[in-house]
């Protein structure tokens, strides 16, 4: 647009200069014609009939110097009292008539600029409109073509953005029939296959490694258990053995949890069933009965008994036991635990010490507070991993040492 505007202005000026030069030239030609007439006949010709515009010619009895001046002027016409721009030529000169006298003459010719200016303007508008419509047409065609041309590109883009490596599917971009895009497809397909293979390999590695760690752990554990049976251990030795045993137990728990996470990610819990949540919660509440009594925790229950969940039954058990276990473990003496179960929501609220880390990290691996002892810090991370494939949602909120976990399904 800027180019067009600038181009328009330049174009306008060029045309104007050309036209003005033309006018000037015609003024000069006129003057020459009049001069010729005067020189030949020594009379003032009736030019208005010839040229159709204002000419002032006068002959004098004394000679003039030869001059010529060209300029612009504004003339107010009496007929409509409007001012008009004119270009004029004023010339003086002298000659000898056939009787031998020197005589002078003055010629003043005018040419209206207003008409030509109008002409230029009209010309300009016509050309401008032609250009603009051409531009509009061009961009419309351009848009249409590019839209058609980019359809395969946008298809690839949408397929790519939908692709999730965790879903364990091949990328399989649909061929477009356009050579360049098909090349792109092939490259992307190959790349995603490589990434997928690496990803699967890595996942399998995690699982295999976890499995391999089980056996040495079993050996260490069993040997320590045998050591416990020795009668003649000193207190110091017992303490050391105890520390080793604790560490090994923790390692074993950690390994189990990691294995569980990797199994969930590897989708090794495919079969789903309708699970009655209230009975599952009851089962684990009675399972944790002693812990509840020990901490003197008040349980508040508000169930919709009929609420069911389509989920893998093993994962459902782990999910509920982790949620309840978490609410009990981080509870305080004489605290409360409230369980609210609606059609599409399970809310577990418990009293407890304030979190000493960012709640955003609550569901991340190995995130645990300072007073969590040798907990693995994987409990809620496992919860998150379990619910993710089912597209459930869990949120944490806290208010004055009351912690709430809200699971929506």
């Amino acid at each position: 647009m800027i180019i067009f505007t600038a181009g328009g202005i330049i174009f306008y000026n060029i045309v104007r200069t050309i036209v003005i030069r033309q006018i000037t030239n015609s003024l000069i030609t006129e003057k020459k014609l009049i001069e010729e007439q005067i020189l030949n006949s020594d009379t003032i010709p009736d030019f208005t009939t010839i040229f159709g515009h204002d000419i002032e010619v006068a002959i004098f009895n004394r000679p003039f110097r030869v001059t010529q001046y060209i300029g612009d002027t504004i003339i107010i016409k009496k007929s409509d009292a409007k001012s008009y721009r004119y270009r004029y030529l004023q010339a003086t000169g002298m000659f000898r008539n056939n009787m031998g006298y020197y005589r002078g003459y003055s010629i003043k010719t005018y040419k209206s600029l207003s008409d030509t200016q109008k002409l230029i303007l009209n010309l300009f508008i016509v050309i401008w409109l032609a250009l603009i419509s051409m531009l509009a047409l061009l961009s419309a065609v351009n848009l249409y073509i590019s839209k058609k041309l980019w359809i395969p590109f946008y298809t690839i883009l949408s397929q790519l953005s939908k692709y999730n490596i965790n879903e364990n599917l091949h990328l399989n971009l649909t061929p477009s029939g356009i050579r360049e895009f098909d090349q792109l497809n092939r490259a992307l397909n190959a790349m995603s296959e490589r990434i997928r293979a690496d990803f699967i390999n890595l996942k399998e590695f995690t699982e295999d490694a976890s499995h391999e760690i089980h056996t040495p752990l079993a050996i260490i554990k069993s040997k320590i258990e045998l050591l416990f049976q020795s009668e003649n251990l000193t207190k110091e030795q017992l303490k050391n053995i105890r520390t080793i045993y604790d560490a090994v137990s923790r390692l074993a728990r950690l390994n189990n949890s990691l294995l569980l996470i990797s199994r969930i990610q590897n989708q090794q819990y495919p079969e789903v069933k309708e699970v009655m949540l209230s009975s599952l919660i009851e089962k684990f509440l009675s399972h944790f009965e002693e812990l509840i009594q020990q901490k003197k925790i008040t349980i508040e229950k508000n169930y919709n008994v009929q609420t069911t969940l389509i989920i893998n039954p093993d994962l459902a058990e782990i999910l509920i036991s982790n949620l309840l276990g978490n609410a009990l473990k981080h509870n305080i003496q004489n605290g409360t635990l409230s369980i609210q179960l609606d059609d599409h929501e399970l809310t577990i609220t418990n009293t407890g010490k304030p979190l000493d880390f960012d709640p955003h990290n609550l569901f991340k691996r190995f995130r645990k507070g300072n007073h969590s002892g040798d907990s693995t810090g994987l409990g809620l991370s496992i919860v998150k991993k379990i619910i993710d494939p089912y597209k459930f949602n869990i949120e944490y909120s806290t208010r004055e040492n009351i912690h709430t976990l809200n699971l929506r399904f």
């Binding site: 089980h214 079993a218 258990e225 728990r253």
Partner: protein, 225 residues
């Protein structure tokens, strides 16, 4: 009672053998599939402990073989692969129990004893230890013929201690036995203490002796003189 242990990890196999010999079991250990087959053809065992992954074969095949020969041996699978399929397959083939590595020797011992108990058809479903009488059928405990009012967990605890009598049992082992191993509950040790306290009190209140010893820092022991 004769036990065959089929486990390719020598150290683990040794631990199990040592622990079980102290329980007065006769233990034999083999390290591969071939030897196991040979032993099983030659002798009769009451319990076979099988690792699923063996260097020259699959433990599941061994179970199939045992069942084909109509062996009466009880079978316990011990596996590093805590895979659901292995467990289901194993139990479908006729294994009696499944333990995932790493397990507690005391747990394995309790499982073996409970297996033997279930398999003995002499109608004896109670054990008597001095003034204590435990009925497996009714899940009851009598002290001096007085019925103890125990919770399910207290009953399980007493039985577990008794199965591993005169053995030091770690708190982890007891907690896992009572609460399962997928539960990451650190606090469980605290109330294990009150469990044991309650159990002791109930037994002594009815005139029983206090058999349960606390082993400093480690766990408990059911001490029978």
């Amino acid at each position: 009672m004769k036990i065959l242990i089929v486990e390719d990890e020598k150290d683990l196999s040794n631990s199990i053998t040592t622990y079980m010999r102290n329980e007065n079991f006769i233990c034999e250990a083999v390290m591969n599939y071939e030897d196991a087959i040979e032993k099983l053809y030659l002798y009769n065992y009451d319990v076979v402990i099988v690792d699923i992954t063996l260097p020259d074969g699959n433990g599941l095949e061994l179970i199939r073989e045992l069942k084909n020969n109509r062996s009466r041996a009880g079978i316990i699978i011990i596996s590093a692969r805590n895979a659901l399929n292995d467990k289901i397959n194993g139990l479908e083939l006729g294994a009696d129990d499944y333990l995932t590595k790493p397990f507690h020797l005391s747990e394995l011992n309790a499982r073996i004893k409970s297996l033997i108990r279930r398999r003995s058809f002499d109608g004896k479903n109670e054990i008597v230890v001095n003034e204590l009488k435990i009925d497996f059928e009714l899940l009851t405990v009598h002290v001096n013929d007085l019925l103890l009012n125990l919770t399910k967990k207290e009953y399980d605890l007493l039985l577990y201690l008794l199965m591993n009598k005169n053995r030091v049992i770690s708190k982890e082992s007891i907690a896992e036995h009572l609460y399962g191993d997928h539960i990451d509950l650190v606090d469980s040790f605290d109330f294990l203490y009150s469990h044991v306290k309650n159990l002791r009190k109930k037994i002594t209140d009815y005139g029983g002796r206090d058999y349960i010893r606390t082993v400093y820092g480690i766990g408990y022991k059911f001490a029978l003189p």
